[in-house]
């Protein structure tokens, strides 16, 4: 077991290096750099292009130097824990991201809780009542959630929330609470706004999870051990909770790896439509304006979380299900 953990940890290093090279290359692929897009934006809004500032930024971000050196500057900063400096916000990256992380975390966490709370009972119910009228009804609802484009649902909900409940459009709180310290009133305002993004982002995830849970559980319900347990007179509910449900949990644990980066990424499209102060729109804007340090460092951060998350979920799986053997993978 110890060897396995050591090997996994060591393998993370080359993985992250490859990811960093890919991220850097892709961000650099479009022609031009942050400054050329900055100049174009200025021209479009008819503002004077300040040669002075351009020359200054060019030197500060090493834009005149070859790409491989720019990469080394960036990566050596990352190793020292320095995420770099965002040209777009003119602030250290850690400061730009730091501010948005809390709200992103709140939205994502609420979404995950919502997804689980809704998907679990429905999934179990439709598996145990397979092909019943209510199974079809719930399945239909699930597919509806899966098929409706998120942004459309977001727009429709925004409109009704504003017209029917008088909730200010977009954002995560009423404007007067922005920048204020956390109070009860602010928290209430956040809760009032939170349900729309949670519902919208959660809709597709919920539907997917219902389907998976239902399928897994159906597999288990037909196995002999369950039939035996029922034949021995165990109550249906107890039998269900004690055995097949536990078996069908594996995919959820495996999901944790993907969940970790998701918690901080904040669904970008929905966040843009809803104008949420999360990291999603920030990443999009950074990529559009080719802000290398902000986009690159944030993506690296997410990549690192994914790698760690996958590792953790593998460990958790091994602990949960003794049938899974970690060492076996080597000989494959």
């Amino acid at each position: 077991m110890f060897h396995y953990i050591m090997r996994r940890v060591l393998i993370m290093i080359p993985t992250l290096i490859v990811i960093s090279a890919v991220i850097f290359t892709i961000i650099k692929l479009p022609p031009g750099d942050y400054l050329s897009s900055y100049i174009d934006t200025l021209r479009q809004s008819h503002e004077a292009v300040d040669e002075q500032k351009i020359a200054f930024l060019r030197a500060q971000f090493h834009l005149d130097e070859p790409a491989w050196r720019q990469y080394l500057y960036w990566i050596s900063g990352l190793i020292r824990g320095d995420l770099g400096y965002s040209a777009l916000y003119d602030l250290p990256v850690s400061q730009v991201v730091g501010d948005k992380l809390l709200l992103t975390f709140i939205v994502s966490f609420a979404t995950i809780v919502f997804t689980w709370v809704v998907a679990f009972p429905i999934g179990v119910y439709s598996a145990t009542h397979q092909y019943s009228f209510s199974d079809y009804g719930l399945t239909f609802l699930g597919f509806l959630g899966l098929a409706t484009p998120n942004f459309l649902l977001a727009l429709v909900l925004l409109y009704f929330a504003n017209v029917k409940f008088g909730i200010s459009i977009g954002g995560l709180m009423d404007p007067q609470y922005l920048d204020k310290p956390w109070t009860l009133a602010k928290a209430v305002s956040v809760l009032k706004h939170l349900w729309i993004p949670v519902l919208v982002i959660g809709a597709a995830g919920t539907a997917g999870m219902i389907r998976r849970l239902r399928a897994n559980l159906l597999d288990e319900l037909q196995k002999q051990y369950f039939v035996t347990a029922r034949a021995k007179g165990l109550s249906p509910f107890r039998a269900l909770i004690k055995y097949p449900l536990r078996m069908s949990l594996n995919p959820f644990i495996a999901d944790i790896g993907a969940l970790l980066p998701h918690v901080i990424s904040g669904a970008a499209v929905v966040s843009v439509v809803l104008s949420l102060p999360t990291t999603g729109p920030m990443l999009l804007e950074a990529l559009r304006s080719q802000d290398m340090y902000l986009a690159g460092s944030f993506l690296m951060f997410m990549a690192a979380l994914t790698v760690v998350g996958v590792f953790l979920s593998d460990l958790a799986l091994a602990w949960l299900d003794p049938r899974i053997r970690l060492e076996g993978g080597v000989t494959r």
Binding site: G32, E47, D50, L158, Q176, L178
Partner: protein
Amino acid sequence: MRKLLPLLAVVCLVALPAAHAQAVEPKETPALEEAVKAGTLPPVTERLPSDALVIRPVELGTPGGSLHMLMASAKDTRMMVVYGYTRLVVYTPDYKLEPDIAQSVDVEDGRVFTFHLRPGHKWSDGQPFTAEDFRYWFEDMASNKKLYTAGLPEQMLVDGKPPSFEVIDPQTVRYSWAKPNPLFLPTLAGPDPLYIYAPAHYMRQFNAKYADEKALDDLVKQYRVRNWTALHTKLFRPYHTDNPDLPVLDPWVLKTRPPADRFVFERNPYFHRIDPAGHQLPYIDTVELVIADSKIIPAKTGAGESDLQARYLRFDNYTFLKDAEDHNDYTVRLWRTAPGAQLALYPNLNAENPIWRQLNRDVRFRRALSLAIDRHEINEAMYYGLAIEGQNTVLPKSPLYDPAYRAAWAAYDPKQASRLLDEIGLTKRDSSGIRLLPDGRPLEIVIENAGESTEQADALELIRDTWAEVGIHLFSKPSQLDIWRRRVYSGATMMSIDRGIDNGLVAVETPPDEFVPTTQGQVQWPMWGQYIETKSKSGEPIDTPDAQELRRLYKAWLDATDVGERAEIWRKILEINARDVFSIGLVAGVPQPIVVSNKLHNVPEEGIFNWIPGAFFGYYHMDTFWLTPEASSQASTAPSKG
């Protein structure tokens, strides 16, 4: 014999009301009474300069209240500098220059500029604003190669030479050049002005020349920048408005440290303007900018979340906004915009492809394209007939306006267009009636654009039909701003669609640079512009006689000292542009919806919403806008209800 610009006469005239300043007894601002009583703020008489600028608002207002506006990004805090419009000299709504921060400006021969400051004028932190602040900028910033790597700004160089700078006394500074510098004052009065002064008392702590080395090193580390020059540049950006510690002279001062989603500006207690009743301006105590995505700003505005909104609203939002007027206690007004054209086609005279370059450079071709457009149809279909049809040139309100410029080759005349195309030799047609190029390919014009508005695509759809009648096939190719510009610059495009010239309200003193090759941003001749911009390092030299003539006239305008001479040159430039149809204008003067809360007063019913001239709300004195007192106190306690 000294020749004086008319500006001096203007300056003398408007210096008159300032002389009455003493007659106005300043009153303490209610919101600041407490601080004055507590002794943390000096009384209003000590905060105002001894010669405060008296502004006559449309109607006298009541100080107080909080104004809400929506913006799309943290960078938009600079709009408060634009709207606040406080400059050394400013333009009035009739486009005349007047002193503002400066008490007066004397101009000799258009080359020696003497600025007189207001005695007792103070920065927003209460420190005196004097000639030292000008000296600090000129000697310790602009002349320091480490800070200003590119040297003095271009507008301060005449034939590449900087001015000589003198401090005459603590209230007077002088800049003198050997030759006239007509760009100097307009640049100082621009919506994004050139700052030739800096708060020396604040900036010195970040300048290696003055600061203690150890303390400066600590600051550099604290701000996580590379060296002191980076720190100095980062902290002195009065236009970008991102440093709440920077002392300013604007009506409102930033109080929120970025990054944030809501920016609060509070009144500058040392602002130098006053109304005739003795209230220190601005009337409004605080301005709050809430950041939201630009696409949902029209929706939020319709829900009554902004007290004054025009930015990010477009003409096609008008009906939606008007519909919600009754529920949300606001009024939608329609102001005019002032670009020379809302939409214009730009044949690329520097196109890479030799056949297209030759065609685009043929004036008959450009005229034929223009004649084959039904502008009236575009106006009716897209703007309810409210726009002005015609070429991309000066607008009727400009003193240089001549209806002939706008009408030149702008009538819908497919017959004449066909004749012109035949004359060029494009007589062969394919089976579907499309003309053939000399090399046998069909005459298919691809019009590229930045893909940022559906407006351009809609207009092109209408043009496609009328062009097809004369045998031209139009394709529209939306792209993305960066990519589109790069393609234009490299000559990869045949033709583009974009906004027309920015300033359709030019005066004789306005530099004619938009009608002459000057920068690569001009998409009809990007290579020529680049050649001039880079001082012949890259791009292509101008090689058509008319464009060379434009260039020659532009130089003559810069050197001219006489108003009559400048006007004469301006006319010639406009005539050449009208004759040659370098850009094909469609419509201009498209209305801009302005949403104004019914609580907000002194916002004109009609106006021009424009960048230059206009500074958006700047020319209309946003510092004199005021809020109905009861309503504003309600708004600050109750959460906003849709």
